[in-house]
């Protein structure tokens, strides 16, 4: 059901925009939100369904973004300040020729491959190490945070060959199309929409498989899973890599729409933002992350314009409110409402809705 809702949205939105009812700006903004939604889903399969709270999901997003950004940088050609084939920041930092690891990125296929491979490989190495030595719970969370923090510092460095603090900006062409054209904006929106639908559908499928069940079993009792003959390490590495790849893809689509990628994008606080999206929407629900990411981003976008001085307070209170009164997020609230309607015949359904511990009452 939710899938068709999403699909309808992805189809109708561009049509409305073609009819002039939605501005190209809105299309661009929503395109980014769709990427956020995918990013949130990628965290949800880890956190919501496997119990692995990754605070560094932003890293994979950014890595995908950087990988694709490298391609976009090379596509700028000789246009801006220095009129050389090198990206401006390289001229600027005194490079005489393109570093070797940049060269393959002239090829768009390689770039797309890298978008998948780089986050995937990083996740694989990190995941294999961490899960083998049975790092779990908060230890895992904090480690992922340390990882993304270290990466941020690394990318901030000028000499890391990725533009330092300023990162990549001022993209001009994507697959031959002018990135500033409205049609490109629309195309990117549609691409993001398709990514969203595919990921949504794919994850829904995954959850139904036995794999999905093992995943949730790991969340509940990982040791039990091991004693039942499953290598929880393999499962966790697989899901971690998958999630990183999805995040990377989201990042790759995000970057041309946002127009910039820089190390700020992998800062630990960004990782927490994603966690918040998922939690607000409803952790461990299919639709929750999507709705959480979009609603929070909308709220942020709207309130930074409407209440520039107060928006942080508004947003912060929303989080507190959600936690206190919607323990299973927005989606959980819907479920509760549905269950309530169903059970209304059964008389007073108890206070179960707010899991307020008894001793605290």
């Amino acid at each position: 059901m939710t899938f068709f809702l999403l699909a309808a949205f992805v189809i109708i939105f561009p049509i409305l925009s073609q009819m002039g009812m939605i501005s190209s700006f809105q299309v661009g903004v929503w395109g980014k939100y769709l990427c956020y939604a995918v990013l949130a889903m990628s965290l949800n399969i880890l956190w919501g369904y496997t119990g692995l709270l990754c605070l560094g999901q932003c890293l994979f997003f950014a890595l995908g973004g950087y990988a694709f950004g490298m391609y976009l940088m090379l596509m700028i050609g000789e246009d801006p300040v220095y009129k050389t084939a090198l990206p401006d920041f390289m001229d600027f930092q005194g490079y005489k020729e393109l570093p070797w690891h940049w060269k393959p990125f002239y090829n768009p296929f390689f770039a797309v491959f890298a978008v998948v491979a780089v986050p995937g490989v990083v996740a694989f190495i990190f995941g294999a190490l961490a899960f083998r030595s049975r790092i779990k719970g908060v230890y895992f969370s904090i480690l992922t945070q340390a990882l993304t923090y270290a990466a941020t510092l690394l990318f901030f460095r000028n000499e890391f060959t990725f533009g330092g603090n300023n990162g990549f900006t001022d993209f001009k062409f994507i697959f031959g199309a002018d990135i500033r054209e409205e049609s490109t904006t629309l195309a990117l929106f549609v691409a993001s929409g398709i990514l969203l639908l595919v990921v949504y559908w794919g994850l829904a499928w995954l959850l139904k498989t036995k794999f999905g069940k093992v995943q949730r079993a790991i969340r509940d009792s990982e040791n039990r899973v091991r004693f039942s003959g499953y290598s929880s390490t393999h499962y966790k590495v697989f899901i971690f890599v998958l999630s990183a790849i999805i995040a990377g893809l989201a990042g790759a689509l995000y970057v041309p729409q946002a127009g910039i990628i820089n190390p700020e994008e992998m800062k630990p606080s960004k990782g927490l933002d994603i966690v918040v999206w998922v939690a607000v929407g409803g952790r461990g629900t299919k639709f929750g992350p999507v709705i959480g990411a979009i609603l929070i981003s909308l709220l942020k976008s709207w309130s930074t314009r409407a209440f520039p001085e107060y928006w942080l307070i508004i947003l912060g209170l929303v989080f507190v409110f959600v936690v206190l009164f919607m323990p299973d997020g927005i989606v959980g609230l819907f479920e509760k409402a549905k269950a309530y309607l169903r059970a209304r015949k059964g008389g007073e359904s108890d206070s179960g809705s707010s899991n307020i511990p008894v001793e605290a009452k």
Binding site: L53, F126, L129, A130, R132, S133, R134, I135, K136, V138, Y139, I142, L143, Q145, A146, L147, Y149, A150, L153, L154, F156, R157, D220, S221, E222, N223, R224, P268, S269, L272, V275, V276, A279, V280, R283, E309, Y310, L312, I313, L315, G316, L317, V318, F319, V320, V322, V323, L324, P327, S354, N355, I356, P357, E359, A360
Partner: protein, 525 residues
Amino acid sequence: MDQRLSKLSTRALLIQVILSTGESQTAAIDVIRERGEPIISEVVEAWRIGRISTLGEGEEVQVLIQVSEGQYEDLLTGSALTPSGEPKINRATRSLRKVLKRIVDLLDLKSPDMSKRIAAAEKLGLSQNEEYLPELRELVPKQSDKKVKAAFQEAVWISELKNGRIDEKISAVTSLGEVKSYPARDFIEALLKESREAKVERLDELEAVAEIALKKIDDHQKLVEVASTLVRGLSTGSVLLLVSYGLAITFGQMGVINMAHGEFIAIGGYTTYVVQNFFVGVFGVESAGFGWYFIAALPAAFVVSALCGAILEKGLIQFLYKRPLESLLATWGVSMVLQQVFRLWFGAANVAVASPEWLSGSYELAGISLSYNRISLIVFALIVVLVTWLLLAKTNWGLHVRATMQNRQMSSCLGVPSSRVNMLTFAFGSGLAGLAGAFLSQIGNVGPSMGQTYIVDSFMVVVVGGVGNLLGAALSSMGIGMLDQGLQPVLGPVMGKITVLFGIILFLQFKPGGLFAARSRSLDD
């Protein structure tokens, strides 16, 4: 020399220096150079930091020294005075100050204050100015204190490196090597280089002794470097410890993923700021009373943060004990709110907190410089660890905290007042964060997002130590601090920090539960 001038009192001369310009100023300075009264350095220092002002115009003009806020002294008479108008601040020019600084340094050579004498000798020696050499030489035997004497002697040698005869140079080099003089190192090296490049007359003997001396100095320096690094590591570790200890309680003991921890640190910082302003209001910046503000700020910071913590616990956290992950979301929200509240209350800019006199400055020990605020930081961290340990390990309250955190329901079943324990514990943890904030105000920023700087580090420390283990947190902060400072000289601060982070990641591969992992046989822990 101007007869008229030399008849004037030093105070009057100073007034002339301050009020006149050009030749008559220079003349006055020349005379002052001959005088040796402490008032000179006092006035020069006051002039430097804008405490000299004038009152009135023309012949009537009076020169005043500001003693403290609104309190002045007539420079000519030295008597206290309440100005009849608005005094106008008078400032020395930069070049004048540099000249006067030299005079003051020379004066300081005879200052009764030992540390001033040492500093002056050091400085004049390093300047390698020929003019000062005779005076320095003359003063060496007059020093009774060994340390002072050594400083003067060293200054003489350093000066001789440039101004001495060749034999004097050689003996100076040798002696400097003996005392392993660090400041001399670069001069000796320059001397060596000069001699090598001057192809006409190479001074073989000088070169030989210079090489030996350099080696001696370098070897010693390596030792000092290691020792200094250790001290710096301790101090960095203490900062980490202070900022993370509150979290070791709220997160480690209670399981609340407290993202607002940083804001509690900020509350401590702001409390210190408010207390400081209060003291300024009551005592004035200059008064002795002001220096005590920090002593008052410590308990204040603790209490204010603890209160805020208690409110947060009662209003929010207590509903989340069964859902620890959600505490992350809620406290993240609280953290956003608090940050913006700080901005609206105190402004978006950081606020200034001045260190009291007794926390400024440093102490030199065998070549290692120990600044007072760092030393007190280390001591304070130690106290925090001790007190926390005593509270948690030796009191019933501590036992209740630990029992409640391990199994809230069961401890209630045994009659432990768990909701009160929860509140007090959270308040205590928050109070510790506030204390950390108070201390951080002495070495860093106080501002709306000051807490954010520390939050990642704090969680890391707690996790590396082993969640729930206070000793672990203490050791891990020291370890991380040492590692950080140890790597910095080699890799620089950025790569050093990155390496530390990767080091932590690797460390947890081997100790997946941190330094002191809580062991359990239960299947789902």
